[in-house]
């Protein structure tokens, strides 16, 4: 039986080793992880998911559909409107950051500059903020 206490983390990352590393890090922190290895299947799998993930991690450079297009299409869907999205990249050109943040990403992280445990911590913080907001809107 899977421990569902902390919800699901969806990771779209085409590099097998990196995605396995993140999967392990979240799994060790009691999250269930769903993986996709390209933008197109990520979009398909996300839309087909019964349970909305607690957070989505998206790599920028992926085959079939890039991270930006993936993010834009899922943000259009009301189900994913408030789900924290973390964009991960190893691009050296920092000009990408503003583009992704203004397109709806909650966080833009350079993979090589952050250890898995830091990424888990940052994603958890985002999840707490977003669910906190949700509760707030219910009260209103």
């Amino acid at each position: 039986m899977t421990d569902m206490r902390k919800g699901k983390i969806f990771i779209a990352e085409d590099n097998l080793e990196v995605s396995r590393m993140y999967e392990r890090a979240f799994r060790l922190n009691e999250y269930e992880v769903v993986l996709a290895y390209d933008g197109e299947s990520a979009q398909r799998d996300l839309l087909a998911m019964e349970e909305t993930p607690a957070a989505i991690l998206i790599d920028i450079n992926m085959p079939h559909m890039n991270g930006l297009d993936l993010m834009l299409t899922i943000r259009e869907n009301s189900r994913f409107k408030d789900v924290p999205i973390v964009v991960l990249t190893n691009s050296f050109y920092k000009e990408d950051e503003d583009r992704f943040l203004s397109a709806g990403a909650n966080l833009y992280l350079i993979k090589i500059e952050h250890q898995s445990k830091d990424i888990v911590a940052k994603v958890e913080a985002l999840i707490h903020t977003s669910t906190g907001k949700d509760r707030g809107s219910v009260v209103q």
Partner: protein, 419 residues
């Protein structure tokens, strides 16, 4: 017997006759002189004609040489008068601009540009500016269809050398059109190479470093074998070093391409020095050294530079000082000079030999083999080179002020004081 007698000439007629003969003689002389003169004139004329012919030939040669030179140029070349009428143009111009008709005016040439309208305005404006201001105007990059061109407009100036008039006169201008498409493509592929390299190298490194770190962090209790733990630590340290090399390579490439932002602001250098001292204090003290800021007695004027980049440079200098100092201290001083603030990092370290001093601040150079051997796992040898590229963009300078083997080194950099 009848005799006929010739009338005897009178003394008058004899005189006349002599005079006549004299005149005739004179005329003969005049005629000869005239003939000689004519002959001389003829020779002179021939001489002049020959000279003219010679000069014409020379001029033709000169013209042929010039035309051949102009036509052999790989860039488009046009000479126009002040009314924009084309006087000379070369073949390359038509090739570069893909002209189908011979242009009679520079306007025809500008009209042929398949660029954006504003670019054409700039071009027209530049030709005028070159005439009006008597200066060379350069357009670094304008588009023409799929091509990229660089255009220079140079005025043709003649000097009036008479006493009454010594003014200069612009009699036209030269337009050079250089096709820089190839260079642009090269530049773009270099950019693409670094973008790909940054991604392709950094992604596997993320997994190496990330996994090593995670094993050491989360499975520490399971690694009981001392050798295994050490091996994992070595993988971790090596991956960190490799990451910093890759990052430095990419940083250098970006700096050299000018692809980085300098965010200048007015700030007090003392704040940056104090922060760096605070940040490095524990690391420095762990090594048994001390680091201190000797602040000036009167407050420093603010500088106009990039605060974060200044911190990066100071961190690099202090980091180097710590690395090469076994006993003693690292002191930072700041002094206000005429138009800049001088920042010094003084250490009591190993010092740098004269030979190695010359190698500092060069690309991929560490201060000599000895240093390299001692410090192989610590840096990439790009730190000072990177600092130099950054500081020159901020309008400052950086250098080794003084160094003595066994006694220590002083590195200094300057930043411009706010206006």
């Amino acid at each position: 017997m009848e005799t006929t007698q010739e009338p005897k000439s009178s003394p008058d007629s004899a005189l006349l006759e002599r005079e006549l003969e004299h005149k005739i003689e004179e005329l003969r002389g005049v005629r000869i002189a005239m003939m000689n003169l004519l002959e001389d004139l003829d020779t002179e004329k021939k001489k002049v004609e020959d000279e003219v012919q010679e000069k014409t030939k020379e001029l033709r040669k000169e013209q042929a040489r010039l035309l051949a030179s102009i036509n052999s140029l790989s860039f488009g070349f046009v000479i126009a008068d002040t009314n924009d009428k084309v006087i000379v143009k070369n073949a390359a111009l038509s090739t570069i601009l893909e002209l189908t008709e011979e242009p009679t005016s520079v306007k025809d040439i500008i009209d042929s540009f398949k660029g954006i309208a504003s670019g054409l305005d700039i071009l027209t404006h530049s030709c005028r500016e070159c005439i009006d201001l008597k200066k060379v105007v350069e357009l670094k990059e304008i588009s023409h269809g799929k091509k990229y061109l660089r255009v220079f407009c140079t005025p043709i100036i003649t000097k009036n050398n008479s006493i009454q008039d010594t003014t200069e006169e612009v009699i036209g201008y030269v337009v050079l059109v250089e096709d820089i498409t190839e260079a642009k493509i090269m530049e773009r592929s270099r950019d693409e190479f670094f973008a790909v390299a940054s991604h392709e190298l950094r992604t596997p490194l993320t997994a190496i470093r990330g996994n090593a770190d995670m094993i050491l962090d989360m499975y520490a209790d399971k690694i009981v074998d001392k050798d295994m733990k050490e091996m994992l630590q070595d993988i971790d340290i090596s991956s960190i070093r490799l990451i910093s090399i890759v990052n430095d390579f990419l940083e250098v490439s970006r700096l050299e391409q000018g692809r980085f932002e300098i965010n200048k602001e007015n700030f007090n250098v003392s704040d940056v020095v104090e922060k760096v001292v605070r940040d490095l204090k524990s690391m420095v003290e762990q090594k048994g050294l001390s680091v201190a800021y000797t602040a000036p007695t009167s407050p420093l004027p603010t500088v106009f530079a990039d605060k974060n980049k200044t911190e990066q440079i100071l961190l690099n200098l202090v980091g180097n000082a710590v690395k090469f100092t076994k006993v003693g201290s690292i002191t930072i001083t700041t002094t206000a000079m005429d138009s800049f603030v001088d920042v010094r990092v003084i250490d009591t370290g190993t010092g740098i030999s004269e030979h190695n001093q010359a190698l500092l601040f060069r690309k991929f150079q560490q201060a000599g083999e000895q240093t390299l051997a001692r410090d192989v796992t610590q840096s990439t040898g790009l730190g000072l080179y990177i600092s130099k590229l950054i500081i020159s963009r901020m309008g400052g300078t950086i250098g080794l002020e003084k160094s003595e083997v066994g006694k220590g080194s002083i590195f200094a950099f300057t930043l411009p004081i706010s206006e």
